[in-house]
């Protein structure tokens, strides 16, 4: 969990989202719909963007989980976070932690996505404020760097 082992004693049937938020106080992953339609709850599980609202906590035992809180060392920003800031890619910001982790995963598997690939890769994420053009701009700025910069 975010770079180190973390134990919780909870019912394995609970969702990863509620355990993250309520038991581990990692509230960066957001509830948006509870049915995997908006991806505001996205976290990385072994590097793969995963909807934590549909994932049972028992299914991630022993796996590498990264939440928005653990994406960069304390006080530092991951290049994707910086790119979102630079592109002003946010309004209310509620979808943004999930968007950023989705973008990190996308750039991880395709370091140089074109626009069509960004759309396909990010289409599961909803931003109701409509910052999609800016999220596109942020990811475009990193294409070629593999999100590492």
């Amino acid at each position: 969990m975010n770079g180190g082992p973390r134990g919780v004693d909870v019912d394995a049937d609970r969702t990863l989202l509620s355990v993250l938020r309520d038991d581990l106080n990692l509230t960066g992953a957001k509830f948006g719909c509870g049915e995997g339609q908006c991806a505001a709850c996205t976290v990385l599980v072994n590097g793969v963007a995963t909807k934590s609202c549909l994932t049972k906590v028992g299914a991630v035992e022993g796996k590498r989980i990264v939440t928005i809180e653990g994406l960069a060392p304390e006080g530092k920003l991951h290049p994707v976070q910086q790119a979102f800031l630079d592109a002003d890619a946010m309004q209310c910001g509620y979808c943004i932690p999930g968007m950023i982790l989705g973008a990190v995963a996308l750039l991880g598997r395709n370091p140089n996505p074109n626009d069509a690939e960004i759309v396909i890769g990010m289409n599961g994420h909803i931003c109701r404020c409509g910052t999609y053009p800016r999220v596109m701009r942020a990811i475009r700025a990193l294409a070629g760097n593999g999100g590492r910069a």
């Binding site: 609970r14 509620s18 920003l77 946010m90 309004q91 932690p97 289409n123 994420h125 053009p133």
Partner: protein, 667 residues
């Protein structure tokens, strides 16, 4: 907060109170519970400079993604010459901030923004006064920059100047302000002041808040709107360890330490409800509006009907509230656009004085007009009171899309005539139920008749970004094209022929030029549309290019160009962000958003069934900002949304020759 308490709470320093009598008269001020006012009713905003140099501004406005926190910070920086990092903006806290009617109607920029500039300008003059007094120098020798006042080789920080002071000044809201042409910080793109907290996940929304010993609550809602509870068997839920049941009349709720347990418990409640016969469904509702029109329906014949569906706001953060009672005082943290309105709801519900209710609004996961009331706050407070513990009430998506309220549906009937040269000679326009915002044509039409008719709504309805201006612009601008078609005039030429308002003409010309309207090339299945309008102090013109699939009829918007003029631009980058966001959000209502209801139920209250715009739906969006430094700044969160639906509808007609007279266009 009482005036004498300022310094007790804030420490020493200087305080500026802004006395806004006009605003107080316009809004009626806060509703008071009979006790002496905690602060003068007319105070619009206040500002404190502390002994550490931190500038704290208190405003009843809230941040819901429109970047008011940033633009209001710019107002302070502009006048006070202080780095943005030194400014703290306390927003939407009914114990700390002055009364405010609410964050809606695009009022923050035209009303609160100049108020805060005035308060900051007054604070600047007070700091200069202090330097004159302390250093015995001529005022004209002083300079102020970067949080410091200097004269020759003397220099002091704001904190040093404010040290040991307890100085309050009240200023009128009528103090003149520097012209926009002379702005140094305002008018430029200051980045979002709390952007870092957003991208790191550090910002706590209402959904994220916790208190020690807090329980998660669920409410048992009826299976139909308005159904009454006949009987309840809560024994299975009550038998669950850790679960508590609250039953007061028709109100039934459960609470548990874990949200999943609360969900299981509410599902275990066995309730019988008296069925309700619903008045109308989503197909019959348009006739129903006309039948129930309170002032009777329009008499004219040959009116062309258009229909507007109910739609949902779908704020990505569903409404949420955390309530805690302590020593007879209720504190509620909740995402709302009307903190003082929610306080009034709580005061009425519990019959306690205002000073015993505090509503705190964390920066909220959007609202779009959908978070005006305190439903979640009332529920959380009620359950918390019954159980004697802090209670969290986070609504699910289904609850948000059922038990909140909707943008009104509407029936709009229109008729018009033109002279052979394209001059509009007659215009009649009737709006049933959807609302009066944007009802009046901005074109020059002598003797036009425009009427809004109140009707019954089968659904709970309320505010929405742009209110009815979207519906009224959709119909007006679609019908403008119908009239243009009758006289075989180009839609652009037809609009310019009938527009006399220069600001309207300016946005139309700017959008058409950027879009390349005159050079557009018609090909099969491609179409181009234009629409324009005026709302809430801003002028907008929108051009759209669409591709219509000849087999399926599916519409893809390829390109949208928006020209927008809202007076002097405060923050160009954030304005562009709002314009783009309005286009994206407007696409949903234009093309496919529709609440389907009947039998007192919502049939599509989930995101799997209710489509909102996604990455793949987004066209190329270009915005042209007409920065009118000679005009006062208007709000910009709403108006850019009104042109996209008619521009798309007109482009579809251009592509396939079919006039679609409903929203959503693709239903």
């Amino acid at each position: 907060m009482k005036r004498r308490d300022f310094f007790a709470l804030l420490g020493g320093g200087i305080v500026v109170l802004l006395d806004d009598e006009i605003y107080a008269q316009e809004t009626g001020g806060p509703r008071r519970g009979g006790d002496a006012p905690a602060v003068p009713l007319e105070i619009g905003a206040w500002l404190h400079i502390g002994e550490t140099g931190v500038v704290t501004v208190y405003t009843g406005k809230v941040e819901v993604g429109q970047n008011a926190r940033t633009s209001l910070t710019q107002a302070v920086v502009e006048e006070l010459h202080v780095p943005p990092e030194s400014v703290e903006m306390v927003m939407g806290d009914t114990d700390l901030t002055p009364f405010d009617m609410g964050t809606f109607g695009s009022m923050t920029t035209p009303r609160m923004w100049p108020q805060i500039r005035r308060a900051a300008a007054a604070a600047r003059e007070m700091l200069l006064d202090l330097a004159v007094r302390k250093w015995s120098v001529e005022r004209t020798t002083l300079t102020i920059a970067d949080g410091r006042v200097s004269a020759g080789d003397r220099s002091a920080s704001f904190g040093e100047l404010a040290h040991g002071e307890k100085w309050t000044r009240t200023i009128p809201a009528s103090v003149p302000l520097a012209a926009a042409a002379d702005w140094k910080v305002a008018g430029k793109s200051l980045p979002k002041v709390n952007g870092r907290a957003i991208v790191t996940g550090a910002h706590k929304y209402s959904w994220d808040l916790k208190r020690p010993g807090m329980l998660h609550a669920k409410v048992l809602y009826p299976p139909q709107f308005g159904a009454k509870l006949i009987s309840l068997d809560a024994s299975a839920a009550e038998a669950m360890p850790g679960v508590k049941v609250v039953h007061e009349g028709d109100f039934v709720a459960v609470a548990a330490p874990e949200v999943e347990k609360a969900a299981t418990a509410v599902a275990a409640l066995k309730a019988q409800w008296k069925p309700v016969t619903a008045a109308a469904d989503y197909r019959t509702v348009f006739q129903y509006f006309k039948q129930t029109a309170q002032d009777g329906a329009a008499k004219a014949k040959n009116l062309t009907p258009y229909t507007i569906a109910y739609i949902a706001h779908v704020p990505l953060e569903p409404r949420a509230a955390l309530a805690e009672w302590e020593g007879g005082k209720l504190t509620v943290w909740t995402g709302t656009q009307r903190p003082f309105g929610v306080r009034s709801e709580l005061v009425q519900r519990f019959g306690i004085p205002e000073e015993r209710v505090r509503v705190i609004v964390p920066d909220t996961g959007s609202g779009y007009g959908g978070k005006h009331n305190g439903d979640a706050a009332l529920e959380a407070a009620r359950i918390a009171k019954a159980l004697g513990k802090p209670v969290k009430r986070n609504w699910t998506r289904e609850e948000e899309m059922t038990w909140a309220y909707f943008r009104p549906g509407g029936l709009i009937e229109v008729a018009g005539k033109t002279a052979p040269d394209g001059t509009i000679t007659e215009w009649e326009f009737h709006n049933y139920n959807s609302g009066a915002s944007g009802l009046h044509s901005p074109y020059h039409i002598p003797g036009k008749k425009e009427q809004f008719h109140w009707s019954e709504s089968p659904l709970r309805q309320g505010s929405y970004r742009g209110l009815a201006a979207t519906a009224n612009h959709f119909v007006r601008e679609s019908y403008m094209d119908e009239l243009a078609e009758n006289v075989k005039l180009d839609p652009l030429a037809f609009r310019l022929k009938n527009a006399k308002d220069q600001r309207l003409c300016d946005v139309i010309v700017a959008a058409a030029e950027k879009f390349g309207w005159k050079a557009r090339q018609k090909t099969a299945g491609r179409g181009f549309g234009i629409a324009a309008g005026f709302e809430k102090g801003g002028y907008v013109a929108t051009c759209a290019e669409v591709a219509v699939d000849p087999k399926t009829g599916a519409v893809k918007v390829l390109r949208a160009v928006v020209a927008f003029e809202c007076g002097a631009v405060v923050n160009p980058e954030h304005l562009r962000n709002q314009v783009e966001g309005a286009i994206v959000m407007g696409l949903g209502g234009a093309l496919f958003e529709e609440i389907q209801f009947g039998e007192g139920k919502i049939f599509n209250n989930r995101l799997a069934k209710y489509r909102v715009p996604r990455f793949a739906d987004v066209p190329v969006i270009e915005s042209v900002l007409l920065d009118r430094k000679d005009l006062v700044s208007a709000g910009a969160g709403e108006t850019p949304i009104v042109g996209i639906a008619p521009a798309i509808g007109n482009a579809i007609f251009d592509a396939i020759g079919t006039r679609i007279r409903r929203l959503p266009l693709m239903a």
